[in-house]
Every structure is written in C-alpha cells, then in structure tokens.
C-alpha cells in the first residue's frame, strides 16, 4: 500500500505482552506460570500426524532441538515484543548471530558490518566465518557513504549494533535501512544493549534482529541464551541474491521457502535447517528463566536508564574523568539521533575515560565494592570492567587506541541499585585514583628534593 511503513498490529501494549505474549494458562493443569517442558521428544498421535509434523503441515513439537513448548513461549513473546513474524531461541547470543548469517549466506558471500561491534562478533566475522568463505568489510557506523562504498556484488547482508562497542555510537537504522534496501539487501541489527523496550529495530526499518538474551532480557545473569527475530519484511525473491530462500532446498525435498512461507520464509529455514543441523538450541529451563526476566523488562529498563543517566551525569562533572561516552548526554556526538531513535533512554552500558591512564583504571576498579568486576553486561547488579588491565592487558597503548579503547577507559553496566549507592561507590573508586596520583606525585617529588 502507499503507506508502506511496517507497523505493529493493533494489539496489546508492550507491558502486557512482556507478561503474557505466547502463553495462556496451561489447558491441562491450569498452571498460570509457563511450565518447563523438560522433555527431549514428544509422542506422535499417529503415523500420519507424525509425517505431517515432519512435512510442516501440522503444528506441534517433534524434538526439543527443533522446538519445545517452553522455548516456543519465549520465541513468540520475543516476536511480539520486537514486531516480528517469529523467532528462534538459541544457546547463546553468538549462536543467534551465527544462525541469522548462515541462514542466508554461503561461501563466497560478503557482509558489510559496523566496525563498532562486540569483540566476540568481530572474531566471528573477521576470523571464523572467513575460514568458511564468508568475508566481512568493517566500516565506521556513522558513515553511511562508507557502508555504501563497501557493498560488493557478492554482498548479502548489512549488519550493525544499535549502540556501538565501545564508543556507544548510535546506528542510524532508518538511513541504513534505506541504503540496504536500495541495494536489495537485508539489514540485521544486534539490539542486545537496548532490548525491544528501548528500541524496536524492525519498526525503524531493519529486517532481522538478534539479541543476547543473557543480558537485559533476562536481567538476572544466571543463564546464557540468544534469539533471532524475523521481521517478515524483506522480499527474498526481489533478486537472485538469496538462493537459500528463493530456490529449491534439496535438504527439505526441494521446498522453496519464500514460495511457500511468504513472510515467514527466513525464520522457517532458520528452524528447519540452522537449528536442525548446527544444533545450537536453548534448554527449556533456560527459556523459563529468561521468561521470568522478561516479565519485568519494562520496569527494569526504566530503572536501568534512569540510574545510567544519573551516574553518567555525575561522572562527566568529575575532575578525574576525561570524558564520558553515553548517548543520553548532550556531549555525545549522537545525542540528537538518540533523542529520535531511543526516546525512552539510551540503555545502561557506557564507558568513561580516566585522565590518568592504565594504572588509574586498575586502582579505580579495585576501589569499588558495589560494582562487580566481571566480563558481562545487562545484569540487575552493576558491573564494571577496565579493558586495558583485563581483556586487553597484553595490548600496547597504540593498539588500544586503534581499537577505540583508551588506557583509562572503564566500561560500566548500570544496575538497579539505589543510584546514590552507585555514585558513592564510584566516589570510592575515584578516591583510590586520587590516592594513586598523590603517591605518584610524591615519588616524583622526592628525587627533586634530593637534588635541591
């Protein structure tokens, strides 16, 4: 239709869907909570129904690698929250990204990706997938002309994260969507840092979304999981670029997914091939625990972003802090774009740079007690990491700078504690830096005194 923008159906609101989507009280037992169907396989009613399930003509479950009733609740809830036609949950966020890519790309194909992505994603794209013949060109996420210039005849996918890592660049999804679609390419977005509560990339023009469900979707930090959501928006038959969806698939009796499944072509192939063959499925207990987190997602995200803005504002005014990179602050280069794309807040992960380098970063971390020092984000508890002394401790300063990581850069994931307690804790860390600076000053002064 003339009004071609993809919209959400006139259904329930976000908060209601967070609690209810995909589940009704169990018809057999009346259980209100989602039951955990801890079963590897499911009994067939009869032989013809069994054949029907395998032939995708009947709805139901066969084997928990392919689908499971508990997982299906989480999948439908994520599809509803992200405005997709369906989703598949996976063993991890990395598995979700791998599933999304391998459903449509094969050896010889090419990806154009933002260069500001999670380190694990960079490893997958730069080193691992290249071993299998899928190459990637990385570009500045703020430079649309760089994305356009990197597109090759064999490019099949444009990829980026809503908020870049570590610089928190805000990806201009509407512009990138327009660019991708003008080249008949789908846009895949990693929305882990924002969740569908803060940003629904499909509404902004993306076609596919992946999340690490380990992070804010769960909120409790007790499971690892991922999800890939299909917007059902991309026409896979608009070109000959996507034979896995537009040509007969020998592995499923010459099924042409786009012909038979229309808007659900991608997600159907992801389940019928990717989960079937790569097998990176989610355990039903994990799905249940993520569902517990999702029930409070709207409330948690409100507190996360309120705390994050308060903490970021505090840090930006501190003398020992060189800069704070948080798109919710007017000082961030993408502040205006963030106000448009992320009106409910810019998430709760951000970084700041201490003026005094690597040793200051180490002292700061060790001066904290409420923040937990670990390599994760999106927990209900506040988390901190200093890349230069941990994940990147072997990397020299020049290489760190090239990766956008200063020696004094600290990444915070702001949790749900009282903001005054978080700020007091940060003050403790900053006092440790002050103490370090005084010690350094005295060590410098003593030789001078000796000379004089």
């Amino acid at each position: 239709m003339t009004d071609s923008k993809h919209r959400s159906p006139q259904g329930m609101g976000f908060d209601t869907l967070s609690l209810h989507a995909g589940q009704v009280p169990d018809p057999t037992t009346g259980a209100r909570a989602t039951p955990i169907y801890q079963s590897a396989a499911f009994v067939f009613p009869d032989s013809d129904a069994a054949a029907g399930l395998f032939n995708i003509e009947r709805a139901g479950h066969v084997y928990s690698r392919l689908s499971n009733p508990t997982n299906a609740v989480l999948e439908e809830r994520m599809a509803a929250l992200d405005h997709g036609v369906g989703s598949v949950v996976t063993a991890s966020g990395q598995a979700a990204l791998h599933l999304a890519i391998t459903t449509i790309l094969s050896a010889g194909d090419h990806i154009v990706s933002s260069r500001s992505v999670y380190g694990g994603t960079h490893n997958l794209l730069e080193y691992t997938l290249s071993r299998f013949g899928i190459s990637t060109t990385f570009v500045d996420p703020r430079d649309m002309s760089a994305f356009a210039g990197a597109i090759q005849p064999n490019t099949k996918l444009i990829f980026g994260e809503v908020l870049g890592n570590p610089g928190l660049e805000v990806l201009d999804i509407p512009s990138l969507s327009e660019l991708a679609h003008s080249h008949h390419l789908p846009l895949l977005i990693d929305a882990t840092f924002v969740t569908p509560y803060l940003c629904q990339p499909i509404e902004l023009g993306a076609d596919l979304v992946v999340h690490s469900a380990t992070k804010f979707l769960s909120g409790h930090g007790v499971v690892v999981g991922g999800v890939v959501v299909d917007g059902g928006t991309f026409d896979w038959q608009s070109s000959d670029k996507f034979p896995t969806l537009s040509e007969p698939y020998v592995g499923f009796h010459d099924l042409v997914f786009a012909d038979e499944f229309g808007p659900a072509a991608f997600i159907t192939r992801a389940r019928k091939e990717g989960i079937r063959d790569f097998g990176a499925c989610m355990a039903p207990m994990t799905a249940f625990q993520i569902l517990q987190g999702l029930e409070t997602l709207p409330l948690r995200m409100q507190k996360h972003v309120a705390n994050a803005l308060e903490v970021a504002t505090y840090l930006e005014q501190h003398d020992l802090v060189a800069s704070v990179s948080y798109p919710g602050l007017p000082s961030h280069p993408d502040y205006e774009l963030a106000q448009t794309m992320l009106p409910k807040g810019c998430g709760a992960v951000f970084s700041f740079e201490l003026k005094d380098g690597r040793e200051a970063g180490r002292a700061f971390i060790e001066g904290l007690s409420v923040f937990s020092h670990l390599a994760n984000v999106g927990d209900a508890k506040s988390l901190v990491i200093h890349p230069a002394s941990t994940t990147h401790h072997r990397v020299d300063e020049a290489s760190l700078r090239a990766a956008g990581i200063g020696p004094g850069l600290v990444r915070l994931s702001i949790g749900l504690e009282d903001s005054k307690d978080l700020i007091n804790d940060l003050k403790g860390g900053l006092r440790a830096v002050e103490k370090l600076n005084k010690q350094r000053a005295s060590q410098v002064a003593k030789p001078l005194e000796a000379v004089s």
């Binding site: 239709m1 159906p9 439908e76």
Partner: protein
C-alpha cells in the same frame, strides 16, 4: 511457483507435490488482500496425500499479474479459466475458499455446477457486507485498513499469542502479509465482497463443508450457518476459540475437519 496461462503469469504453490496425471485436484482460493501462502500447511498436507494442489494467487495478488478484479463473478470466471488450463484429467475437483475466496467458490459452483465436486468454505458469509470505516480506509490505501482487518481477524487468544505453530506470531504474520499488497487491491477486494449477492444464483447442489470460528468477527458463525441455506448438501464444523484466520490459528483442527470430507 508460476505458470503462464494465455500470457498471464499466475503465482501458486503445489504444496511441494508430485501428483499423478489423473490425481484428484484441489484448488485453494485466498481471501481479501492475501495470497497463496495462507494455505501452506493445508497445501502441503493434500500434496503429500496425492492431490494435485494449486494454492493460487488471485489477479493482482502475490505473484499473479494484475490488475486485481473488483467483483466476485469476474474472479470466479478467472478461476474457471485457470481450472480449464491446468486440470484436464483430474478424477475430481475440490475448491477450498477462505473469506472472499468462499464467495468465488460459491459463484463458480452456482454458475458452473458440473465443474466442481466438493466445496470447503472457511469463514464465509453471503452476503458479505464490509463496514464503511474499513472500505474508506482501503480506498485511501491507508494502513489503518490493514490494522483493523488484521486485528478483527484474530481471536482473543491470538492477540496475546500462544500460537500452535512454534515461535510464530500469527498477528504479525497477518500484518506483514497484508502489507505486501499493492495499492487499491484491498479496496477492490472489499468492494467485491460488499457487492456480492446470491440473488441470481440457483440452489447449489455441490457437497460442501463449512468451517466457522466462534470468535470470528469478520464472518460470524451465524453468517456461515446462513450460507448453508443456499446449499442442498452441507456439513458444518464449529472451531472453538478460533477467529477468522483459522488456517493459521488452528491449522490442525482445520486439517482434521477437511481431511475426512475431502478425501472421503
């Protein structure tokens, strides 16, 4: 898949079937604004059971060349031409329609009784008046027409979810499918439904199965039951907790209702 008939490209699905030359034929006719993909599960079932399946895209819908037609008899005439071109040796012919598609089936059976052996009508009503608010929005190519029709087509359960198809949001599937149609198609379809009348039809003798959903707000169950008055031989199956898009909301129950009738 596509087939060329008299210079017109027609989109359809065979349900991945490989039928014998004299296999019974079954034609699936979609509703307003939709295309053949709404029949994916039913098409695949009958293809596996030896039927020659043609789940068709109507003119101007899906992959079939336009323009879209704006009255039911013209759509039925088009369907008659497709059947004539694709089904010479079939041992029997069954027509399955949904919503607007049921009107096309009724028109064909009333005017060309010898052509059809069985009818299956899902979500039917004759007449099929369309609310002014929906017609007007469709005339303006306003997305609100999609929103209204899609929401009204689903049961209360589908508004929250709990789809029978693992990991699928039926509500969003409906929205995305309707968003694929070209300008003016929805208005032509709704105009065809709104203008449909059975007054010039004789009674239909074709054995017919009518399937209704008790939460169908587009074609309420009582409307489906009234269609039975036109028919000399009919069976009625009521699906509990089901809305208008019964093929996606209750695919297994639809198959259970259809399989015995069509294959029997």
């Amino acid at each position: 898949m596509k087939i060329d008939i008299n210079g017109t490209s027609i989109g359809y699905s065979s349900g991945s079937g490989h039928p014998e030359a004299d296999a019974p034929a079954i034609y699936f006719i979609h509703g307003a604004g939709m295309d053949h993909t709404v029949w994916v599960m039913q098409a695949r079932y009958f293809a596996r059971h030896g039927f020659r399946v043609m789940a068709l895209d109507l003119p101007g819908h899906g992959k079939t060349d336009g323009p879209a037609l704006d009255n039911v008899d013209a759509m039925a005439d088009w369907l008659r031409g497709v059947i004539g071109a694709t089904c010479h040796d079939a041992s029997s012919i069954t027509l399955v329609g949904h919503s607007m598609g049921t009107l096309i089936c009724l028109s064909l059976a009333a005017r060309f009784a010898d052509l059809v052996d069985k009818l299956v009508l899902l979500g039917t009503s004759a007449p099929m008046p369309v609310a002014d608010v929906l017609l007007n929005a469709a005339q303006d190519n306003d997305h609100a027409a999609i929103d209204m029709a899609n929401t009204w087509s689903h049961s209360q359960r589908s508004l929250l979810g709990a789809s029978d198809n693992p990991g699928t949001s039926n509500l969003h599937m409906g929205e995305r499918l309707l968003e694929r149609m070209a300008d003016d198609v929805y208005f032509k379809d709704f105009s065809a439904c709104d203008g449909f009348s059975t007054e010039h039809y004789d009674a239909i003798h074709t054995p017919t199965l009518i399937i209704t959903g008790d939460q169908d707000k587009m074609t309420p169950p009582r409307a489906g039951m009234a269609v039975a008055d036109l028919l000399k031989v009919s069976e009625l199956v009521h699906l509990q907790g089901c809305g208008h898009v019964m093929m996606s909301e209750q695919p297994n129950q639809v198959l259970d209702a259809m399989s015995g009738f069509v294959r029997g």
